[in-house]
């Protein structure tokens, strides 16, 4: 049994002459969370629809759990859960009735379906509104109901399109927790988003889309090293003495930039926090803050597109 659940090779989609997706290659492993990131219209949703066999491919191939979505869409859709962007449910039906309909489409036996629906709703903390009409649900609850559908389906792969867009911070946090829950249950998760900082916290690996191509792919740290250059950025707030001079004297420090009154940003080729603290204090300065600046996807993203624009 291979560990790769989704493999795309040279996947291409043309709309007329426009190359919406241009010969992309990627693979998703079992039990990982893979993020497709990029601006709107970069080809993320098209890629997702091709994986589900909901739109035809123009070239290349994609393999989902050993099936070809073009020729065997039913096999793929039986095993893959999909949460579309701004998922909709039948408003005049209750949550239970909505899931029951899905269960019937999946040909899950009736008794089994009822048990699974109960468990799934429990897992997304919606058990108390099981028999409420979906028309009363908030956006966040609908997204969670979408996750419940995937849980009920016992999908091996979950494909989530912009799962957190339009949610308030608390709902986002809860939803991301549920996505982590899917991963813990052994489900491979592929999610697309343009909200980078939120995605960063859950994704094991990401692929950065730009105009139908995958510009960068890897872990967040790998991408940061690739785009921002290697180095450990830290931020320091201190007062007293020649702080900048002291900082320059520390071994490994590559650059010191004053970011404001008594605030500096230091980039070094290794973790220099201990040395920085020691030097400032021994030189009679007052160290009030010392923060490790995690490479943020936002920064990677912005920098990458700036450079791409400059190159163009």
């Amino acid at each position: 049994m291979t560990d790769i659940v989704i493999e795309a090779r040279g996947l291409t989609k043309l709309y007329g002459k426009h190359r919406a997706v241009d010969a992309i290659d990627f693979s998703v492993r079992r039990g990982e969370i893979f993020g497709l990131l990029g601006p709107n219209g970069a080809g993320k949703t098209t890629t997702i629809l091709m994986m589900l066999g909901l739109t035809e491919t123009s070239g290349g191939s994609v393999d989902v759990l050993g099936f070809d979505p073009v020729r065997q869409p039913l096999e793929v859709k039986r095993r893959v859960g999909y949460l579309p962007d701004a998922v909709g449910f039948y408003d005049h039906l209750t949550a239970r009735e909505n899931l029951r309909y899905t269960a019937r489409l999946l040909a899950i036996p009736r008794r089994e379906a009822e048990t699974r629906i109960g468990q799934a709703m429990e897992s997304v903390k919606l058990a108390d509104v099981l028999d409420k009409r979906v028309s009363t649900f908030s956006r966040g609850m609908r997204q969670r109901l979408g996750i419940a559908e995937i849980v009920m389906k016992r999908a091996e792969v979950a494909i989530l399109d912009e799962p957190t867009s339009g949610l308030d911070p608390h709902s986002t946090f809860e939803l991301l927790e549920m996505i982590r829950g899917l991963k813990r249950a052994g489900v491979a998760v592929l999610l697309s988003s343009h909200l980078l900082d939120r995605v960063q916290s859950v994704c094991d690996r990401v692929a950065l889309f730009n105009e139908g191509r995958i510009a960068l792919m890897g872990t967040v740290v790998e991408l940061a090293n690739q785009v921002l250059g290697a180095g450990h950025p830290i931020q320091i707030e201190a007062a007293g003495g020649d702080i900048a001079g002291t900082l320059h004297g520390i071994e490994g420090v590559q650059s010191v930039v004053a970011e404001g009154e008594g605030v500096w940003k230091v980039v070094a080729d290794r973790d220099v926090r201990a040395a920085v603290a020691h030097r400032i204090v021994t030189s009679g300065g007052e160290l009030t803050r010392l923060a490790d600046l995690q490479p943020s996807l936002e920064e990677v993203y912005t920098r990458y597109f700036e450079e791409a624009r400059r190159a163009a």
């Binding site: 949703t45 098209t46 629809l49 589900l52 909901l54 739109t55 073009v70 020729r71 065997q72 869409p73 039913l74 096999e75 859709k77 039986r78 893959v80 859960g81 999909y82 949460l83 579309p84 962007d85 701004a86 998922v87 909709g88 449910f89 039948y90 408003d91 005049h92 309909y101 899905t102 019937r104 489409l105 999946l106 040909a107 979408g146 559908e149």
Partner: protein
């Protein structure tokens, strides 16, 4: 891509059962259905009541009494029950179908449902069949009500042949509804906005009922030669006029109903005196002969339904499901 590589696997009918059951339940429990049923009752009750009034006072033992309930045109109303149905059935069908696909799209349920193991074929066909079944339920109920009221007020049981003709009428009415359901579903696939698709379907309905008769006769008089020299000329013109009128499903329906419910009908077109020789005027045809007479109308309705549904199907297959 070579065609063999693109061949998909799995039955196109996977999942059609759940779709059918859900749509049927939705239709039967919806407020819209209730409104449409009230519509039918409002339009149908008056002609039926007046017909019954008339039939109670006129004693005519040889005529098909029960069929007359449907076809009699009471003077106070000026419209028979079947004529009312001719008008109302399209409205019901449009009401049931105008948002069947674009409604799912707008509620954003389409991509979620299509990501379940089901082909688009099953979704569309399931919806269509559920609509037709809804029709059948409503029309059978209506038919039974009329029959029951007739039984109570007239005090005579219907004869077997009347029941047979009545069942034939039901089949034709369901097929007629199917044509309009297919039309409204085609619009619901073509347009993303439910309002636009409803408007187009209603526009077509009005076109066929109000404009088409005038337009057809205008076309006929436009192509007519200056003077009609022979019977053949006249017959050709009549053929053209009828052919044009029969493009409207309503004409096919009323002709089929005429043949079924008025057994004395021998022809739907003009007849030469020579062809009438030996015919006993006003004598009813046997059921089989009536059926033979209207067979083209029935096949025309069913063929139209299938062709329009196929068009909707082709458009739906090519549609993008993304928002």
């Amino acid at each position: 891509m070579p065609p063999s590589a693109a061949r998909r696997q799995g039955s196109p009918f996977t999942g059609i059962g759940p779709v059918f059951m859900k749509e049927l339940a939705d239709h039967l429990s919806s407020v819209r259905m209730l409104v449409l049923a009230l519509f039918v009752i409002a339009f149908g009750a008056f002609p039926v009541a007046s017909s019954l009034q008339t039939l109670r006072t006129v004693v005519d033992p040889n005529s098909f009494l029960f069929l007359r309930i449907f076809t009699l045109e009471p003077e106070q109303v000026g419209i028979s029950f079947v004529a009312a149905l001719n008008f109302i059935i399209p409205l019901m069908a449009i009401g049931l179908g105008f948002d069947s696909v674009n409604g799912e799209f707008n509620r954003r349920t389409l991509s979620r449902v299509l990501s379940q193991p089901i082909y688009r074929d099953a979704l569309l066909l399931g919806k269509f069949l559920a609509g037709v079944a809804t029709f059948a339920v409503v029309l059978v109920a209506l038919w039974l009500i009329v029959l029951g009221v007739g039984l109570l007020l007239l005090g005579v049981p219907p004869r077997g042949v009347e029941v047979a003709r009545g069942v034939g009428f039901l089949v034709v009415a369901v097929a007629y509804g199917g044509v309009w359901l297919a039309i409204s579903m085609l619009f619901s696939v073509l347009f993303r906005s439910t309002a636009t698709s409803a408007l187009c379907a209603l526009g077509l309905w009005l076109f066929f009922f109000l404009l088409w008769p005038q337009l057809a006769s205008a076309i006929v008089s436009g192509v007519a030669p200056g003077e009609i020299r022979s019977v053949e000329d006249y017959a050709a013109l009549q053929d053209l006029a009828m052919g044009l009128m029969r493009l409207s499903p309503g004409t096919l329906f009323s002709e089929a109903v005429l043949g079924l419910l008025s057994p004395e009908t021998r022809t739907l077109g003009p007849m030469l005196p020579a062809q009438m020789r030996g015919a006993v005027m006003g004598a009813p045809l046997p059921f089989g002969q009536s059926l033979l007479l209207i067979w083209p109308q029935i096949t025309g309705l069913i063929a139209g339904m299938i062709v329009i549904f196929a068009a909707a199907y082709v458009v739906f297959q090519r549609e993008e499901v993304r928002a």
